[in-house]
């Protein structure tokens, strides 16, 4: 067993998928020789060649649109969008074509494409490099959207996403790429891709998080424990479809929920979670579902991004408010 980072987990997962299936291709800007700007595809072109690890022209719509054609020819392209803020030139191809081809062809076209997007902030980047566009894709029927939060999930989830016959938007919390290491057991049996997971058990309130905020939520739970409050933390992992049963179970026990994500609060995933929890757990609730997220502003200049991003204190503050009801 070895200790790996999220970047390494993704890299190993991609490599494994490419070894297992010769139809798997990697496409994107700088993914070849450079190994991607985050080095997630490091070494793949050297081992699999330029026909399978394709350095593309700098054209996002072109990358996704040609990947659709590859799918129609029987390939399984894994597309890298260099940064979250640059997915919008491909937005039309993703929501109008990738998402709808299976439907309008009555299932005759298969689009087993994975669109990898390094997402979220906290790395001190310039504008358009720190966005959280998940709600835009989760709102689109025909797409599936997942977010990994740790090295082990990175390794398994990327392989599962590639194996899925549906198109998957695969979100990678870029500030976690090189942050923490974890022990990988390559013989383990992973959870299913489209499932959420309780990552810390607790009894007083439930904190829902995904991607980069899972770590924030776990730190908040740790801090709360020192003050005698027990928080349960759920890593949603799948954003569309949502896996709500573990969430409902938890909420029925704790009666209080705080949702946290980096994306803007207005019409963010937290709104959907609040609505579903209210519909299903109304009589177990001690307080309304509270949301802690990015402000409803464009992502600010990086010198103040820490104020924009939900942190441990804002999560704890929301937990306190949940207890005030």
């Amino acid at each position: 067993m070895s200790k790996i980072t999220l970047a390494k987990g993704l890299n190993m997962g991609l490599r494994k998928a490419m070894e297992d299936d010769p139809k798997v291709l990697v496409m994107g800007e700088d993914v070849g020789k450079l190994g991607g700007v985050f080095r997630i595809t490091d070494g793949l072109q050297k081992d699999f060649g330029e026909d399978r690890v394709i350095d593309s022209p700098l054209a996002e719509s072109g990358i996704v649109g040609t990947a659709i054609g590859m799918c129609l020819r029987g390939y399984r392209p894994v597309v890298e969008i260099q940064f979250d803020g640059f997915v919008y030139p491909a937005y039309d191809q993703i929501v109008c074509q990738v998402a709808k081809m299976h439907y309008r062809s009555k299932g005759r076209y298969k689009i087993p494409m994975v669109i990898r997007i390094p997402f979220g902030g906290g790395i001190g980047a310039v504008e358009h490099h720190s966005e959280s566009p998940e709600a835009q894709f989760a709102h689109t029927p025909g797409l599936k959207v997942v977010a990994c939060s740790n090295p082990i999930d990175g390794y398994w989830m990327i392989q599962q996403a590639i194996a899925s016959d549906d198109p998957v938007i695969f979100l990678e919390p870029k500030r976690q790429y090189h942050a923490d290491k974890a022990e990988l057991d390559e013989d383990a049996t992973p959870d299913p891709l489209f499932s959420s997971r309780v990552v810390r058990q607790g009894t007083d309130a439930t904190v829902l998080a995904y991607g980069p905020t899972v770590k924030t939520a776990l730190s908040a739970a740790e801090a709360a424990a020192t003050e005698g409050r027990s928080l349960e933390v759920i890593d949603l992992r799948t954003l569309s479809p949502l896996d709500m049963d573990p969430v409902y179970d938890s909420v029925r026990r704790t009666g209080r929920v705080v949702v946290t994500h980096e994306a803007h609060v207005n019409l963010g995933l937290g709104s959907e979670l609040a609505a579903r929890i209210t519909e299903n757990c109304f009589y177990s609730m001690e307080a309304p579902v509270l949301r802690v997220g990015g402000m409803d502003t464009p992502y600010p200049a990086s010198r103040i991004e820490e104020d924009y991003l939900p942190d441990l204190d804002r999560v704890l503050d929301a937990v306190d408010r949940a207890f005030d009801y």
């Binding site: 026909d51 054609g69 799918c71 005759r108 599936k144 709500m244």
Partner: protein, 383 residues
């Protein structure tokens, strides 16, 4: 007039007015039905091939007029007419081999017919019973694309897949495969089409970009899309472009065949600009009298693709009245098939909307489906 507004210096660069297609227009049959020769794209055609072109164009025109009539009778919500573009489509469609794969926009009824798609199936989208009911794998003819230009990228990606399958440049005529992306002059302004050019050039993909320049993007003339003849754009991307008389089925066939063969041989993309004219409205909801001159339409009538071939065939004794009557009878039969078939196309059922959203249906969608089914059932017998 493509060159309208060019100063004298630009005329020097691009040559004289393009209004008749310009001197670079490849033509093998004049509007008067004279056979002319071309130093690069000439070809001999057998009498049978020529009669085949005639028949195909008559039947294609019939598909179009019949569907237009069905729209007028309220059987179709809308129809995208191809009147005037029969030669461009048959010339291109007949140059295809079985394994060549076509990515159409929404007006390629003639190409669909050449690929063996039952024209009745084209009506479903316009009637609103489906989004396209043919199986692309049966005929290597993709579904219609409504978002302008999107399919140029799909074609290019598919062609890149063909390359990876080793299905180019083998010399085996059954195996080597070309891919065609259809689009219009308006689409040439889209980013996706330009990105497709870049990908195709960069990877030398076996794709033929077949642009039917019918002069109009709804109400916007070609001058609003381009200050240079469209085929010349290819040069800027690093592959050849050819302007062919799109009302001349022989020239369109010859040029497209050459472009397809280049692709199959592994020599990369070509842009074919079929210079033609949309004689009808953009769609049945459009009113072209609001934006174009009747004179132009009358001028283009003189270049009718079917009339010129008929003159040539008759003058050379290649057809007789009996053949013409046979084709007409076949067209009548096709018309009947479309009329009766269209009305008989079954409406989809409400529950059908839930089908095929995903390969693997998520539980939450399954629950929504079941909930809606129960809701519908609650009305049964409740009158």
């Amino acid at each position: 007039m493509t060159n309208a507004g060019f100063g004298p210096d630009l005329v020097e660069v691009f040559g004289p007015s393009q209004s008749a297609g310009g001197p670079e227009l490849v033509q093998l049959l004049t509007p008067e039905g004279e056979r002319v020769h071309h130093n690069q794209f000439d070809k001999d055609f057998t009498a049978e091939e020529l009669r085949g072109f005639y028949r195909d164009m008559i039947l294609t025109r019939r598909i179009d007029t019949e569907a237009t009539a069905l729209q007028r009778h309220g059987e179709l919500g809308i129809w995208a007419q191809l009147l005037g573009q029969e030669a461009a489509q048959i010339g291109c469609g007949r140059a295809l081999r079985h394994q060549d794969y076509v990515f159409p926009t929404y007006r390629e009824h003639g190409v669909a017919y050449c690929k063996g798609v039952d024209p009745l199936k084209l009506l479903g989208l316009f009637r609103g019973v489906d989004h396209g009911s043919w199986d692309p794998a049966d005929n290597n003819f993709g579904l219609y694309t409504i978002v302008i230009g999107a399919q140029a990228l799909h074609a290019t990606g598919y062609a890149m897949g063909v390359q990876r399958d080793g299905a180019v440049g083998t010399g085996d005529p059954e195996r080597d495969t070309a891919v065609v992306a259809h689009f219009g002059d308006g689409a040439s302004s889209q980013g996706d089409v330009n990105e497709a050019f870049i990908f195709a050039a960069s990877y030398n993909a076996p794709v033929v970009f077949f642009c039917q320049n019918n002069q109009w993007a709804i109400s916007e003339p070609i001058e609003r899309q381009s200050r240079i003849p469209l085929y010349q754009r290819a040069l800027g991307f690093g592959f050849p472009g050819v302007r062919v008389d799109g009302n001349d089925v022989l020239a369109t066939y010859a040029v497209t065949q050459a472009a397809l063969q280049r692709a199959r041989d592994g020599q990369g993309p070509t842009l074919v600009e079929a210079y033609t004219y949309r004689m009808g409205a953009h769609t049945t909801t459009d009113d072209p009298t609001r934006y174009r001159l009747n004179d132009d339409v009358e001028n283009w009538k003189l270049k009718d693709p079917i009339a010129r071939l008929e003159v040539y065939l008759r003058r050379n004794g290649l057809v007789d009245d009996e053949f013409i009557a046979e084709v007409k009878a076949e067209a009548d039969e096709l018309g009947h098939h479309l009329r009766e078939g269209c009305k008989a196309l079954p409406d989809p059922q409400p529950m059908d909307m839930f089908d095929h959203v995903y390969e693997e249906e998520p539980q939450e969608l399954r629950e929504q489906r079941e909930g809606f089914a129960a809701y519908l059932e609650s009305f049964e017998g409740a009158h």
